[in-house]
């Protein structure tokens, strides 16, 4: 059973939250994980659910040698030392 769109957004948010600080997730990792749980979920839903999380500022894209999706956090390099 595919998830309704708002539930999908929350499911992905939980996924990102659970991974925070442990593993950096790429958009494709999220898509693969959702499809594993909900094989009939349209890929486009997943794409736009991620977009919604980013557009609302609940998640951000980060770049550490590759692009990831994470919860917003302080920029390490911005800290003074």
């Amino acid at each position: 059973m595919a998830l309704p769109k708002d539930e999908l957004v929350e499911r992905i948010y939980k996924m990102v939250e659970a991974a925070q600080g442990k593993k950096q997730l790429k958009a494709k990792d999220i898509e693969k994980a959702v499809l594993k749980e909900y094989p009939d979920q349209p890929r486009n839903d997943i794409k736009f659910a991620i977009k919604e999380l980013i557009d609302s500022g609940r998640c951000v894209y980060t770049y550490f040698g590759g692009s990831y999706i994470e919860l917003p956090h302080e920029e390490g390099a911005a800290k003074k030392f």
Binding site: D55, Y63, F64, G65, G66, S67, K80
Partner: protein
Amino acid sequence: MHKTPMLDHLESGPWPSFVKDLKRMAAQKSEVNDLLGQLERSYREKITHWKHGGIVGVLGYGSGIIGRYSDLPEEFPGLEHFHTMRINHPSAWFYSTQALRELCDIWDKHGSGVLNLHGSTGDIIFLGCRTEALEPCFADLTAKGWDIGGSGSAMRSPSCCVGPARCEWACYDTLEACYQVTQEFQFDLHRPSYPYKFKYKFSGCPNDCVAAVARADLSVIGVWKDDIRIDQSAVEAYAAGEIKPRGGGAHVDKLDIQADVVDLCPTHCMSWDGRKLTIDNKNCNHCMHCINLMPQALRPGTETGATILLGSHAPILEGAQMSWVIVPFMEMEPPFDEVKDLGYRITEWWAEHGKNRERVGELIMRLGMRAFLEAVELPPVPQSVIFPRSNPFFFWKQSDFDAEAKGRKYYTKEGFDVD
């Protein structure tokens, strides 16, 4: 002003110096003074004082802003934040002076004023923005119709040669193709969802002025499939020295058709009897050599389109690679659906199988051209063969045996799977 004895030395050479430019800007922008100061210090210490950021950006986008910080913010406060912004360039970098003024005004207002036209991605590069200035700068840019370009694991801003706007050799409209593909891939350009970067570059002919063959994952290079057009009287005029080579700018006064043109044809498909030039077009590999030497006598044919090549990149995981022919000839007419659609099929396969930071060319090296061609449903073509097979271990698949049993003699134009 910081003291910069080593940088000052660069001003003494014969070429225009960025040091002179930056000093002039430093009179108005203290961060540019700090930029010179920190660079001088790096020259002295032989280490960089830049740190990478990974988070800064504008809301909604994951691309186009590259975080930079100085590790000496006390000493060089203007460099505490010094982020790079990539601004998507217009096709073939055509601007009105008004557009350039707009860009400069916006950048003077929000950033350091230092810019680079253009980066190797093609984008306009704004160097030196503070985090809190990113959103207002972005807002002013979009209000004037500009947008940020690609960076990170995303579709990068496509770029193209000047093409039919100024060049008679263009075999298709590179500017329109570049524009259409840029519009098509907006989602993937701003929202990184690939294993790594992906670049489209469009050259109008095999001279490949944007070096698509070496710098683009997907290289679209104009080509013709009929015969090179020959004006025999102009060939004779070249031979007689009436038409000067390179418009008179060459080191010789007149072309030696045999030595300079015919003998240097890489496939030896031309001949010259002193009066008439003949080309065996079946064996021409479209290198452009003869056309470049005698532009008034020779021109590309009229049945034009593009060759599609895939996979070039600089050394990241593996060594550098050049692009590899995957479609020898494709019609290139607006709205360019075929090349867009191929792009989607390629990025889908690559996103599914690629490792983090693995470019599509590297994935093909790892999984094989065969796996790639099957996945994106392209027929294998002789033009893809780089060198004769030297490996005796070929792994046949059941579909090969089935196809042979059904009477396949060889690879067909339509495909390699008969069923």
